[in-house]
Amino acid sequence: MYRYDSYDQSIVDARVEEFRDQTQRRLAGALTEDQFKPLRLMNGLYLQLHAYMLRVAIPYGTLSGTQMRKLGEIAGKYDKGYAHFTTRQNLQYNWIKLADAPDILAELATVEMHAIQTSGNCIRNISSDQYAGVSADEVADPRPWAELLRQWSSFHPEFTYLPRKFKIAVIASDDDRAAMRLHDIGLKLVERDGVVGAEVYAGGGMGRTPMVAPLIRDFVAEDEIISYLEACLRVYNRYGRRDNKYKARIKILVHEIGVEEYKRQVEEEFAHMRTLGLNPPVEELARIRAFFAPPAYETDLSDTIDRSDRAFALWLDRQVAAHKAPGYAIVNISLKPIDGIPGDASAEQMALVADLAESYSFDELRVTHAQNLVLPHVQKADLFAIWQKLVAAGLAEANLDLITDIIACPGLDYCALANARSIPLAQKIAARFADAERQADLGELKLKISGCINACGHHHAGHIGILGVDRRGVENFQLLLGGSGAEDASLGQITGPGFSEDGVVDAIEKVTDIYLAERTDGERFLDTYRRIGMTPFKEAIYG
């Protein structure tokens, strides 16, 4: 894992003091809320329906046990004893007092964490693959690139007042676990003639105008990635729309001027940028890469696992993924208990997960964009002991990528933008499909709920997506089918008129019944939908 040096630490410490100064000016009345708003927003502090919400960056979703323990302590000390993991691998506290925010940031800084640029029209936290460094099929660990970009984007002087927020993801596998092409810029590391570089995708996103990002360059070498991204951002900063916040994301610019024209402008700017010496030397990426060297795996470990406990075997088959090192495994910890809130974890659960990371996973954890957690390096011999501890903590749900592994935004229970409540709906759906055999029979089925058109719950990318809208003062839920945020990225299509909360649960059941009736061997829900199209589903729902 990356560790701060004195430069990194002093920047984060300075930010804490700056924000303390700004907050004190606000509390003393020297700043009005209007003046304070842009300052707090640059630091992830939102005023929500009931309280302040603080969003903490978890760069590329990687953190240590110490960091997770601190996040849990803060949840206990300053919040109501829990916190929420988001679709951008970050963490949100929902019940924060403004006067406490500087102290929270100071506590975060002691464990090399911050909330810098977790909101505002700037480059946000860089996201990545939760299996980075441990999956066998990656070209290289994408996290050193992500850390290079974290530093480059922190307080970038030219790109802090962009037309709109800007999200970057970096992956390095053909399997896309980070929804890379639904980001403003997505990088996929590839190898060419023995050299690692990046394919660059630009103009993806969700919100009210979802787009899958097109490829704009098939290779950028590591010693030019910064100048290339500066070119991408400069074209966007200069020409992205500022007249309408709903048309201000880069996807609209790329769409309106066309991919070819955007590429042409970027190449022209890049030709200029690459002469300016903006790129760190390759030694800098090498320095960062050394932090992500594989841990000291033990050798000659057995791959045999005792499967005699049936519940353990079910969990094993669902939650544990292949690790590149013999004798090791990747453990996915579900934050989607049937009666829980998707992505929420209690302070006690966070402390337990921190312990598990320290005891069993080389002190490392990951957060996934599907709002779950990962222990990335676990000896297979330890899996049973880990499972028992997860069971005791209510963290052993075996539903990874199944219909109850629901992505949901906080919705109208918390969010000032929402039109509808996401959490109660997620709970109703989970309750309806709670039966383990039924879920397993349905197989991979990614269900995603957004409480408004801003699409924080990724409904466009759900195999089944749900969008909450306000219909004359009543919550109404639209149903979408056929989306994907993975390597086969696609956008879901709306089935037709929306439903009540109970109605949409019934409609989902009809949709899954059609799938079960129509599927051929090995077909996932998404595959069947793509083969037979919308019509049979529509007939079942509305017929």
């Binding site: 300075a14 029209n121 530093q151 760190p280």
Partner: protein, 146 residues
């Protein structure tokens, strides 16, 4: 309170700035004002006769002026580069890094707050045209960057 802030040696240009359209259409003006959405590159053929470029920020949230400033400095412009309009203390550092060397904010700034802002961050992560060595250069003093 500070109504005008300059980091240049010597006097600031007093000549009133004309619009980009007026500037490119006439020969004798030496001060020009860029509005958001105007292309700073239109001025590049004329840099040798410009002593002042004002970049207007009608609202602090419109960041196009940061790109305009960097483009002018990257092209070698040495004259005064002034940020005017909704310029707040919290933006001064980023503006300095993009090449602005004078400020005429619509609302006067607090001197102490400006001083604190300018000294708060000892180091920077990015290379710009302001001449400050980025952190990566300090980490690798023996290498030349690309």
């Amino acid at each position: 309170m500070v109504e005008f802030l300059s980091f240049r040696d010597g006097e600031s240009t007093q000549e009133p700035a004309v619009t980009v359209e007026a500037f490119t259409g006439q020969s004798n003006a030496t001060a020009v004002r860029i509005e958001p959405g105007e292309d700073a590159r239109e001025l590049l053929p004329h840099l040798d006769r410009i002593s002042l470029v004002e970049v207007n920020f009608p609202g602090f949230g419109d960041g196009r002026g940061y790109s305009a400033a960097r483009i002018l400095r990257e092209a070698g412009y040495q004259g005064e580069l002034r940020a005017v309009g909704d310029v707040l203390v919290d933006q001064i550092v980023a503006m300095r890094r993009c090449g602005f060397d004078s400020f005429h904010p619509a609302k006067a700034l607090d001197d102490a707050a400006v001083d604190r802002a300018l000294t708060r961050y000892a180091d920077v992560y990015q290379k710009t045209i302001d001449g400050r060595a980025p952190i990566w250069a300090k980490r690798h003093p023996e290498t030349q960057n690309g």
